[in-house]
């Protein structure tokens, strides 16, 4: 049932709203400024709301209920303490324009977060304001744009992205007014250096790279690439979605990147919330420092924290949000980093990689094909079901859906686009060997099912609230808003 099906005209909610007559209070307003039409919100009791949404929640898979090896998403445990402390009333009731003397506790935390992110990224300056990875990318590419513009270097109209790149990379480049050129991937999963060299030229503003790439492998020629791009006058953008794989081990700044974003909602375990909110802090090397989006948190000589704005950073690319981004998310990331601490950072990379490489090794043994079987996995790896799709007619999507029946969320499917019938599997460091072994068992079962009873797999899932949903119908017969009959 939809919440609207519980609605009864004339039901009064009672305990929440002020007990006033809206008609009386509003009558001094000009009639033509007022709403005339009936407002279609449900008229339900608080119990009905609680019961409905509690019941809906139970239809979700989530980290708190299921292993969720969704590649490129870093679905790790979200420590409950981060939520508790971020929800302290002093933080929640904080108006963004509260004066500094009422903001030091919060600003100190954000400032320290900037400092910690600087250290793990190896960059020179951080802005916390981007509200997700894609907005971090926007900030980064806009800074590249501003950098070239400030030097009068106006013929650079192209941003390079590898064909394995996440969709946000090309989309962002376009939003910043760039053309996008794709660079192919070599057979071993690294960037095709020859193709890169061929593409470089005076029209290239920069390149966007993910490292380890979305294929799960570390770009071994990163130094060479950095040198080539820099020699061509371009800058390097680092998509930090995969930082979990290398945290505390290597730093984008040391690899030669000029600008990066970090998905705090991945690497630093702020919850995904069924789609957000995230936080996509950006870091820059010295060249791009003048262009950081504002506000940035500063600390003056009296140890007073303050907002640095266009005044202090006059060449800033400006503001990307109404206030200063997703502060509540930033506090969670701050808390997480403090709990993990200096020794905890590299441990994340180690155990995320251990889990990924263990799964990869075991899946190979079980007879699955890896896209890059000779490579070390980062914190994730790509498995291809091309063979099974051909021999048994069971494709990656069917595998994914069947996993749901076995009590596991599916890995990412059909991404990266260049690997056919692929599953991108990212276990994260917070899963135990026991859980990984149960997952391996399920994969083996499904493989067996695919070989002996393909229909069974193709019809999955069976144990979810609904069976396989019709996407085509959804897009054709658009039903985006409920209407009372």
């Amino acid at each position: 049932m939809l919440i609207f099906n519980y609605s009864k005209a004339g039901r009064k909610t009672g305990s929440q709203s002020p007990n006033v007559s809206a008609d009386t209070l509003l009558k001094s307003l000009p009639a033509n400024s007022l709403r005339k039409s009936k407002l279609l919100l449900p008229e339900v009791s608080e119990l009905e709301v609680v019961r409905h949404y509690t019941s809906l929640s139970k239809k979700n898979f989530s980290i708190d209920t299921h292993f969720y090896p969704l590649g490129s998403c870093t679905m790790k445990y979200n420590p409950r303490i981060c939520n508790e402390l971020a929800m302290l009333p002093g933080f929640l009731n904080h108006h963004p324009y509260a004066p500094l003397q009422f903001s030091q506790g919060l600003l100190q935390s954000l400032y320290e977060l900037q400092e910690m992110l600087k250290e793990v990224s190896g960059m020179q300056g951080i802005s916390l304001t981007p509200m997700a990875g894609a907005q971090g990318e926007f900030a980064g590419v806009a800074m590249i744009q501003a950098y070239h513009a400030a030097r009068g270097d106006t013929q650079r109209k192209v941003i390079l992205v590898p064909d394995a790149a996440h969709g946000t990379n090309p989309a962002t480049a376009m939003m910043c007014g760039y053309q996008v050129k794709e660079i192919p991937t070599a057979e071993d999963g690294d960037v095709d250096i020859q193709a890169l060299q061929a593409a470089l030229g005076p029209d290239i503003a920069g390149i966007m790279l993910t490292n380890p790439s979305t294929l799960g492998v570390f770009e071994r020629h990163i130094h060479e690439i950095a040198d080539l791009v820099h020699q061509a006058g371009g800058l390097l953008y680092y998509d930090g979605a995969n930082m979990n794989a290398i945290l505390g081990k290597v730093r984008p700044g040391d690899m030669g990147f000029d600008v990066i974003h970090m998905n705090l909602h991945k690497t630093f375990s702020t919850p995904h919330g069924g789609g957000g909110p995230g936080a996509g802090a950006v870091g820059v090397g010295e060249r791009l420092l003048p262009y950081l989006p504002v506000p940035v948190i500063g600390c003056n000589t009296d140890n007073q924290y303050y907002w640095m704005t266009e005044q202090e950073i006059p060449s800033s690319i400006g503001r990307l949000s109404g206030f200063m981004g997703n502060v509540g998310v930033l506090i969670r990331a701050y808390i997480y980093m403090r709990l993990l601490g200096r020794a905890g950072m590299p441990r994340i990379a180690e155990f995320a990689s251990l889990n990924a490489n263990y799964l990869q090794a075991k899946l190979k043994q079980l007879g699955f094909d890896m896209a890059y079987p000779k490579r070390r996995a980062g914190h994730e790896f790509v498995l291809t079901l091309k063979r099974q799709a051909k021999t048994c007619g069971v494709n990656a999507m069917a595998f994914a859906k069947r996993l749901l029946d076995k009590g596991f969320h599916a890995p990412t499917t059909y991404f990266p686009l260049l690997v056919p019938e692929c599953l991108l599997i990212e276990p994260t460091e917070t899963e135990s060997k026991g859980e990984l072994d149960r997952f391996l068992e399920a994969m083996a079962e499904i493989l067996h099912e695919a070989e002996t009873n393909a229909e069974l797999v193709l019809g999955a899932p069976y144990s979810m609230p609904v069976q396989r949903l019709d996407d085509v119908r959804a897009a054709k017969e658009l039903d985006l808003v409920w209407k009372a009959d």
């Binding site: 919100l41 979200n78 509260a98 903001s103 935390s109 007014g177 570390f218 949000s321 808390i335 709990l339």
Partner: protein, 452 residues
């Protein structure tokens, strides 16, 4: 090892399954010289117990001042069921609902949210959220330019009464696409957009007109007139509105003859705490005709193979993960959890509940104007009726007056001098339903004292 469950024994057995001896070998494809030894600037780990104490001190340190600031972020009562339910692990720790069958909770909730938000706006369609009000408005401008088939200019007219930070944010986001923003002046008496100034723009072409209701001053705009004018000019009408107030005010879908084309704004008033500016969420609604230009995720209702109702992400061909550089936007992660809270908020409040809050906000603003309007040294600047906020001109420097309030733990409002220097010593004061008669009395007394 906080949050890492591996025992020594398991580690060895996993390493041997991989065929290596040391954890460090996992990184052996990484060029040696890149490997770092230390990250000294990261402090050592602290226990949850110690960190809780630290964070409690910091949260308390910032006090709990009585807040009369609005300027885009509004303190409202949030029923406690809202976040208690939104914080359930199944909502809180799920990813974007890519696997529809295992995400029906989130998907149905978003579908319900879309219905509620479209209803509130009296528009056809809502998306599943954008980042915040400011960036949503920037996306609306880009969308309008894509969607306007009658007029291919990249020029957009924006009322000067639109939140100045929103205008700065639009600018930052669209400037690399050669879009020009032109400011519409406002009436210094009424405090809303100057209808008379429209004439001078009639020769120019615009892709869209952007106005905010209520505007940054809390004043009501003449939405019908502005909408009809925009449509006459072949411009699309973009409405940036406070969604809560649409329970009382004429919603964008009903503006003028044909309604606004795009409605957007910040969803914060619908259940998101102030939280120092975020996470909030940007909402966006539009007319049916232009849905394929909409940025962001959209949930649709469909059926499973047995004909049972179910929900999926739909129209994904607009999005970056399919369309890549041709997508309607680069947005991927949005503000899902805040939307979850918002749907629960709207369901609890219901149509009458929301309308009462809006009415109380209106009444409280009037009560404040009543209380301070006759004080010596205070001038209520604008005559237009409005909600939440009003502008006071003081006969002393605003900063000095604010300092007096601060000393008493009160945040008296937003200083307008930087954004609207022409208004003089002007303070933007906000009163929502959370303020009592005593609070307003205290405000008055403190102001009187500050001006004495």
């Amino acid at each position: 090892m906080p949050y890492i469950p591996h025992t020594e024994e398991e580690i060895s057995s996993m390493l041997s399954a991989i065929g290596i001896k040391q954890l460090d070998q996992l990184f052996d494809e990484i060029p040696k010289k890149l490997r770092i030894k230390t990250i000294d600037a990261i402090p050592e780990a602290v226990s949850e117990m110690a960190l809780r104490r630290t964070m409690q001190v910091r949260a308390n340190q910032d006090g709990s001042p009585l807040c009369f600031i609005g300027a885009g972020a509004y303190e409202h009562h949030i029923p406690s069921a809202v976040w208690q339910i939104a914080s359930r692990g199944e909502f809180y720790s799920a990813y974007t609902p890519y696997q529809a069958e295992a995400s029906q909770g989130t998907l149905q909730l978003i579908y319900e949210y879309q219905t509620m938000m479209a209803g509130l706006m009296a528009m056809d369609i809502s998306n599943a959220s954008l980042y915040d009000g400011a960036s949503a408005l920037a996306e609306a401008v880009l969308m309008a330019i894509r969607a306007n088939r009658k007029c291919k200019t990249r020029r957009v007219l924006v009322a000067g009464t639109v939140n100045p930070v929103y205008r700065a944010c639009i600018n930052a986001i669209v400037k690399n696409q050669q879009i020009e923003l032109i400011e519409l002046p406002y009436c210094t008496e009424a405090g809303n957009s100057l209808a008379g100034s429209l004439k001078q723009h009639e020769s120019q072409e615009f892709a869209a007109l952007v106005i905010q209701q209520p505007n940054f001053f809390g004043c009501l705009e003449n939405v019908d007139e502005l909408t009809d004018w925009a449509h006459q000019q072949n411009a699309l009408m973009i409405a940036a509105v406070n969604p809560l107030l649409m329970a009382a005010l004429k919603p964008p879908g009903e503006w003028g003859q044909n309604g606004a084309d795009i409605a957007c704004g910040d969803g914060q008033p619908l259940g998101a705490p102030l939280s120092c500016g975020g996470p909030y969420y940007g909402f966006m609604c539009c007319k049916n005709e232009i849905v394929r230009q909409m940025p962001g995720r959209i949930v649709g209702r469909t059926q499973d193979i047995n004909g049972h109702e179910g929900f999926v992400l739909t129209l994904q061909a607009r999005e970056q993960h399919i369309r890549r550089s041709k997508a309607t936007s680069n947005i991927c992660t949005n503000q899902g959890l805040v939307v979850t809270a918002s749907a629960i908020y709207m369901a609890i409040m219901g149509p009458e509940g929301l309308r009462r809050i809006a009415a109380q906000c209106y009444a409280n603003r009037n009560a404040l104007i009543q209380a301070v309007g006759s004080l010596k040294g205070v001038e209520v600047v604008f005559t237009s009726p409005g909600f939440h906020e009003c502008v006071l001109r003081l006969n002393k420097p605003v900063e000095d007056v604010m300092a007096v309030f601060y000393a008493q733990g009160i945040l008296p409002g937003y200083n307008l001098k930087k954004d609207y220097p022409e208004l003089g010593e002007a303070l933007l004061v906000c009163v929502t339903e959370t303020k009592t008669d005593d609070d307003i009395e205290l405000y008055k007394n403190t102001l009187q004292q500050a001006l004495a």
